[in-house]
């Protein structure tokens, strides 16, 4: 389906990643946003608050992040595409409701503009310390999708993608921005509506009788209906059967939760996206995401100038993690270098997938700034060297 032209103001803009995210959401058809202000994400809802009244959208500033993160789920069941927006401390408060969205298979989008943590930390400065939290922050097992834009343009593009994936898989999708990308101003091209591909909600169109809100097809994703459609749906946060009724047994749990995980796991080939550059034949491969994928480039270029074959794999989807691709590469590469603005999060996945076949080196940074490319360069060179002897 193509985007609704209402709201898509095609053109080239000079805007920051936060504003671009707001435009992406609008283009994706989002018409409900609930939020609670927090630096460095607030510009997103500020733009939404300005844009929505005239395009039939509903923005509400809730009393806190807990309320925001469930108001959007109410709105989804009311028929809207919906999003909430926050940053570290607020993201922590949303954890219970990420689990709720996963459990009730409520398609929605959470944006986390990462800043320096833990706790209040460095509110106005960058970090990438919420990556593991994005995957594991709610109790119990569940599956989510998380995307990592590295520019305002990608902030726009991947926000659209987030909405599309949410609808495709009836799953919460997280857009993991960081303060740099959120506050960086660059050219953003908003294409005309008819060039924007949108995944509509997968509403049930079969007979009303016998409809089951939690009965999945072969792709493990059940169809949706909305409140007011006359289905008398029941949606519960308890373990439930295909009708949505609570069933307090291990068997029901296995059936339901296994599917919630499998719908991401088994569809991961379709979901996973990375950008690769000169990975074929590379000696060293940088694995990066978000702003760090740009900071790494001067380091990579310099190392290449000095003769090291450096490839670059950039995670567009951090979750699901491109395990298969990393595994493949690990057979050819002599070292992975993983720069992150944290003390080692996604690198753990790289280590797991590499399974000892080759070296994995971290370039950690606590946050408050981006890396000095020299540190990444130095790490590349140190790997290269060891291999070359």
């Amino acid at each position: 389906m193509k985007a609704d032209p209402k709201g898509v103001v095609a053109g080239a803009y000079f805007i920051d990643g936060d504003h671009a995210c707001a435009e992406g959401a609008i283009a994706a058809g989002c018409r409900f946003v609930a939020g609670y202000p927090i630096t460095p994400s607030t510009e997103i809802v500020e733009r939404i608050a300005e844009r929505f009244p005239l395009i039939g959208g509903m923005f509400i500033q809730m009393e806190d992040e807990i309320a925001s993160s469930i108001a959007i789920q109410g709105a989804v069941w009311g028929g809207k595409k919906a999003m909430t927006v926050t940053s570290g401390p607020g993201f922590s408060l949303m954890m219970e409701h990420i689990g709720l969205a996963a459990m009730t298979e409520t398609p929605c989008v959470f944006v986390d503009v990462q800043r320096g943590g833990p706790s209040t930390g460095l509110p106005t400065l960058p970090g990438q310390g919420d990556m593991m939290q994005a995957r594991w922050g709610s109790h119990g097992d569940y599956g989510i999708i998380a995307l990592c834009p590295n520019s305002p343009q990608e902030s726009f593009d991947l926000t659209i993608k987030a909405f599309n994936l949410a609808e495709q898989y009836r799953v919460p999708v997280l857009v993991m921005l960081d303060e740099c990308v959120g506050h960086m101003t660059e050219r953003v091209v908003v294409p005309p509506a008819d060039e924007i591909e949108i995944t509509p909600r997968r509403y049930w169109d079969g007979p009303k009788e016998g409809f089951l809100l939690f009965k999945a097809g072969p792709d493990r994703v059940p169809p949706m209906v909305k409140a007011g459609d006359g289905y008398n749906i029941h949606v519960t946060s308890l373990t439930h059967d295909e009708r949505g009724y609570p069933v307090m047994t291990a068997a029901a749990q296995e059936k339901l939760v296994r599917r919630l995980i499998d719908k991401i796991r088994l569809n991961s080939d379709a979901i996973v996206e990375c950008r690769e550059e000169q990975t074929a034949g590379a000696d060293v491969v940088i694995v990066s995401y978000g702003i760090t994928s740009r900071i790494a480039i001067p380091a990579i270029e310099q190392a290449r100038r000095e003769g090291v074959k450096v490839g670059h794999l950039r995670l567009i989807t951090a979750w699901p993690f491109p395990a298969k691709r990393i595994r493949e590469l690990s057979h050819h590469v002599s070292c992975f270098v993983v720069p992150e603005i944290n003390y080692g999060q996604m690198v753990r996945e790289v280590e797991r997938c590499v399974a000892g076949r080759t070296r994995v080196e971290r370039v950690s940074h606590g946050g408050g700034a981006v890396h000095n490319p020299k540190d990444i360069y130095a790490k590349i060179m140190s790997c290269g060297k060891e291999e070359r002897k």
Binding site: A12, F14, P123, H183, T185, R187, R294
Partner: protein, 184 residues
């Protein structure tokens, strides 16, 4: 054109961020270059020295921060003291004549000074000082096309003030041209 790093410094309320925004917009939207602007945020940044960083380049910009700006536009004494040491060897320094006394000026720099406050006051609005500076910068650096800059000024300033701001821009630009031709 290679990567050029520009820093603008001043105090809050002088339109420092808007200036950076205009340069970036001119380059990225009206001049088919690439541009990245970054500003300092946060309570610690409030009230005191304020700055914007812009990278302009013909190629896509990977690293978005500036490290050693080639061009620096300075509108307050504090900013001069704080930022001018960062300027690249042989870089261009543009200061406002009244607001900045360039003592201990580095010998390696190309220094331009402009009475932008006076020009702005002549135009009837002290506020447009930053736009005067932009016109001047456009002339003396040539980093972005003058038409692109005019376009960017027009669409970036508050509605109803376009004319005033374009005048301010032109004033600065002409002063730069004169200066270059040795007439000022």
């Amino acid at each position: 054109m290679a990567r050029t790093e520009i820093k603008i410094g001043g105090f809050g309320g002088q339109g420092v961020i808007l200036s950076g925004y205009i340069i970036g917009r001119a380059a990225a939207i009206y001049d088919s270059k690439h541009a990245t602007m970054i500003q300092a945020f946060g309570p610690e940044a409030r009230g005191s020295a304020c700055s914007a960083q812009i990278v302009v380049s013909a190629e896509p910009i990977a690293y978005p921060y500036i490290t050693t700006p080639q061009i620096m536009i300075v509108m307050s004494q504090e900013a001069y003291t704080k930022f001018s040491p960062e300027l690249a060897e042989g870089g261009i320094l543009i200061t406002e004549e009244e607001l900045v006394k360039t003592h201990n000026l580095r010998k390696d720099l190309k220094h331009f000074s402009i009475p932008a406050t006076r020009f702005a006051e002549e135009l009837g609005r002290k506020m447009v000082l930053n736009i005067v500076m932009m016109g001047f910068m456009t002339s003396v650096t040539g980093i972005v096309g003058v038409e692109a800059m005019r376009q960017a000024v027009k669409v970036s300033v508050p509605k109803g003030t376009e004319h005033l701001n374009l005048n301010a821009f032109n004033k600065g630009f002409e002063y730069g041209e004169k200066l270059k031709s040795g007439a000022a």
